[in-house]
Amino acid sequence: MVHMEYYLIVSTIMMFVGIYGFLTRRNLLAMLISVELILNSVDINFVVFNRFLFPGQLEGFFFALFAIGISAAETAVAIAIIINIYRNMRNIQVKNLDKMKW
């Protein structure tokens, strides 16, 4: 049997890799990919906790299931926005998007 902590370590690393990507990538789509990594790591955590700690219940399972659905929705909207940005600015570099200040 594999220790639960091993799964958690994997998911934690994945999460912070995602955060790193979110903080450093310039391309909006790349940032979105990083966000997907973060979401995915959280899904793993839900599932692992459900499996190891509360095997009789299904909360974590369904949480992961719904999270997948929601992330699909989120991605669709985000990509629509990004495409719109692209139409207006002809690129999707995040450094150009600083209008929403002050």
Partner: protein, 629 residues
């Protein structure tokens, strides 16, 4: 008798309608509407009075107090609540008659007097507001309702004094009236609150059991209430607003500043009379001294004024002083045993309202005719204005207290009550009655006899007022002639029992002699064209004359106190403190946050990734803090 609520609602409706429609309404329409409504109100009041008094006395021989309409308005707790309603008892019914009569007369009169004025509709609207508030005041079921209407009366008085709002003096006068009475009302309010706190109700007749515990505070509360009454009734030293209030249109002076609003203070004391007499007779006597001093002061000042409306204003102050004195000299609630003054005061209130309104309306006719308030512009008017002359003479005789006019009867009762209290008070009041006769006939001769101002009259011949103005004069003169024969004591007396008025021959003789003497002196001094005696006296006692003409510099003292002491020594430092310390502190806070926001504005870069780093750093910091704890 639920229809009595209409007495309040109809004028309110008229106020709202004419006020809202304003100039969209034709002046005649607004005036007619207001007058008709007031006429209905007067008819309703008469009907109320008739049915109330004809319903008869109850088993104890008093007219029962009826509350035909009442609604709980503000319940505070199970005991303390404020009601709004209508209370009918002899004095409130009497006041209903007085107010609606005078108001109706003034409404008719104003047709002629205010003809062609801009703001005619506004004028009628305010008149309706005043009528409503004054009627509400007298039928109040509790002291708080009375206070509400009391303030409404003050507001409408303010609006009407300042009716000519383009005239600087009128603005100043209206402000003065409002501020002075408001200031006095502060005392009234505190009195009400003390009263409500200790007796647990705002009723006029609280439980005697509850009062037992409030005995110490009741005199204080009643005294403070009298301060409010003194403000409205222009008792010394709060009288300063009333002479200035004459800047308003003359019918307004007749209605508000002679007949109705200014007697609100008297009415208040009469309303609280059972409490005064039962628990604070010493406060009552203090009011008597205040009233006597005011009466004397105002009578002296009235002797030398040259503006006819001011003479009437001071005469009003003096006569209200009489009423207050009459109430104040009561020593028990039995009219046979020292409670006569209550009846006398109410009687005088009634008769005075009629003849003083008559005097003011007459003065209005005169002012209308010569376009001036100054006596120097008049003289010899009797041949131009016969109706005004006769009615004015009747009113003068009445106020001087000549038999068989109404003033004689009420004044005689007051003097009898004063003699019953103490001989000194009696003689002082008799002397003031003589002064009254003197200054009223000085006024009368100054207007209708004496030297005619020929140049002025040549270029603009005085003429008799139109019928709309003379009809109210004739009606009020008729009332003045007849009112003395009303068996007033049968309706109103201090304990509610029927009291048969009988003339005290000695007092009557003395007062008649004094009045006749006053008239005789005035005739001797002022009737002829030359005024050697009067002018001689004026130069002989020039200091006194000047002081009296300037109303003994009371206004100047007020001016000095408010401007030099209160404004300069208290308000200015407070204003400085407010401007510099309070505002400065706030400005400093604003300045600091402004600076900080400029300093940290750069952090709001608009780059989402920088926000991300800050966010991560913050979360990290919190995590570390939580770990270390």
């Amino acid at each position: 008798m639920e229809y009595t609520i209409l007495i309040l609602l109809l004028p309110l409706l008229s106020f709202i309608l004419t006020g809202l429609l304003g100039t969209r309404l034709k002046p005649v329409a607004a005036g007619t509407f207001g007058t008709v409504v007031t006429g209905i109100v007067a008819a309703l009041s008469y009907w109320t009075a008739f049915s109330y008094f004809s319903a008869g006395r109850n088993a104890e021989g008093v007219f029962p107090t009826i509350i035909p309409w009442n609604t709980e308005w503000l319940p505070f707790n199970s005991n303390l609540q404020i009601d709004l309603g209508i209370l009918l008892d002899p004095i409130s019914v009497m006041m209903l008659v007085v107010i609606s009569t005078v108001s109706f007369m003034v409404h008719i009169y104003s047709f002629g007097y205010m003809k062609g004025e801009t703001g005619f509709q506004r004028y009628y609207s305010f008149l309706s507001l005043f009528t409503m508030s004054m009627l509400g005041l007298v039928v109040a079921t509790n002291i708080f309702q009375m206070y509400i209407f009391w303030e409404l009366v003050g507001v409408s008085s303010y609006l009407l004094i300042g009716f000519y709002y383009t005239k600087k003096e009128a603005i100043a006068a209206s402000k003065k009236a409002f501020i002075v009475t408001r200031f006095a009302d502060l005392g009234f309010l505190i009195g009400i609150l003390i009263y409500g706190f200790y007796t647990g109700s705002f009723s006029f007749t609280p439980d005697s059991a509850v009062i037992g515990s409030a005995k110490v505070f009741l005199p204080i509360a009643l005294g403070l209430m009298f301060v409010g009454g003194a403000g409205k009734s222009a008792m010394f030293p709060l009288h300063i607003w009333l002479p200035d209030a004459m800047e308003g249109p003359t019918p307004v002076s007749a209605l508000i500043h002679a007949a109705t609003m200014v007697v609100a203070g008297v009415y208040l004391v009469a309303r609280m009379f059972p409490l005064f007499i039962g628990y604070a007779p010493e406060v009552l006597h203090v009011t008597a001294y205040v009233g006597a001093f005011t009466a004397l002061y105002a009578a002296i000042v009235a002797c030398v004024q040259s503006d006819i409306k001011r003479v009437l204003a001071f005469s009003t102050i003096s006569q209200i002083g009489f009423m207050i004195v009459a109430l104040g000299v009561c020593t028990s609630s039995d009219p046979h045993e020292g409670g006569l003054g209550y009846m006398a005061s109410m009687f005088h209130l009634f008769t005075h309202a009629m003849f003083k309104a008559l005097l003011f309306l007459g003065a209005g006719c005169i002012i209308h005719a010569v376009h001036s308030n100054e006596m120097s512009a008049m003289g010899g008017l009797r041949k131009y204005m016969p109706v005004t002359h006769v009615t004015f003479l009747i009113a003068c005789l009445a106020i001087a207290g000549i038999w068989p006019l109404s003033g004689f009867f009420s004044k005689d009762e007051i003097l009898a009550a004063c003699f019953g209290f103490s001989p000194v008070m009696g003689w002082v009041m008799t002397f003031i009655a003589g002064l009254t006769a003197f200054y009223m006939f000085r006024l009368y001769y100054g207007i209708f006899w004496g030297k005619e101002n020929k140049e002025l009259h040549a270029e603009h011949t005085p003429h008799e007022a139109p019928l709309t103005m003379t009809i109210p004069l004739m009606f009020l003169a008729a009332v003045t002639l007849a009112a003395g024969w009303i068996p007033f004591g049968e309706f109103v007396s201090s304990n509610g029992q029927a009291y048969h008025i009988h003339i005290d021959i000695k007092v009557a003789a003395v007062s008649l002699c004094v009045a006749a003497a006053g008239i005789a002196i005035a005739t001797w001094m002022y009737m002829r064209e030359d005024r050697k005696v009067a002018d001689g006296l004026a130069t002989r006692f020039s200091g006194l004359h000047k002081a009296a003409y300037h109303r003994f510099y009371i206004d100047e003292i007020y001016q000095f106190i408010t401007h030099r002491i209160i404004f300069a020594c208290i308000s200015t430092p407070i204003a400085w403190f407010d401007r510099h310390v309070v505002d400065g502190f706030m400005n400093m806070l604003a300045w600091i946050s402004n600076r900080i926001s400029w300093a940290i504005k750069g952090m709001q870069s608009g780059y989402v990734q920088r926000y991300g780093i800050w966010f991560l750093g913050g979360a990290l910091g919190i995590a570390i803090v939580l770990l270390l704890i």
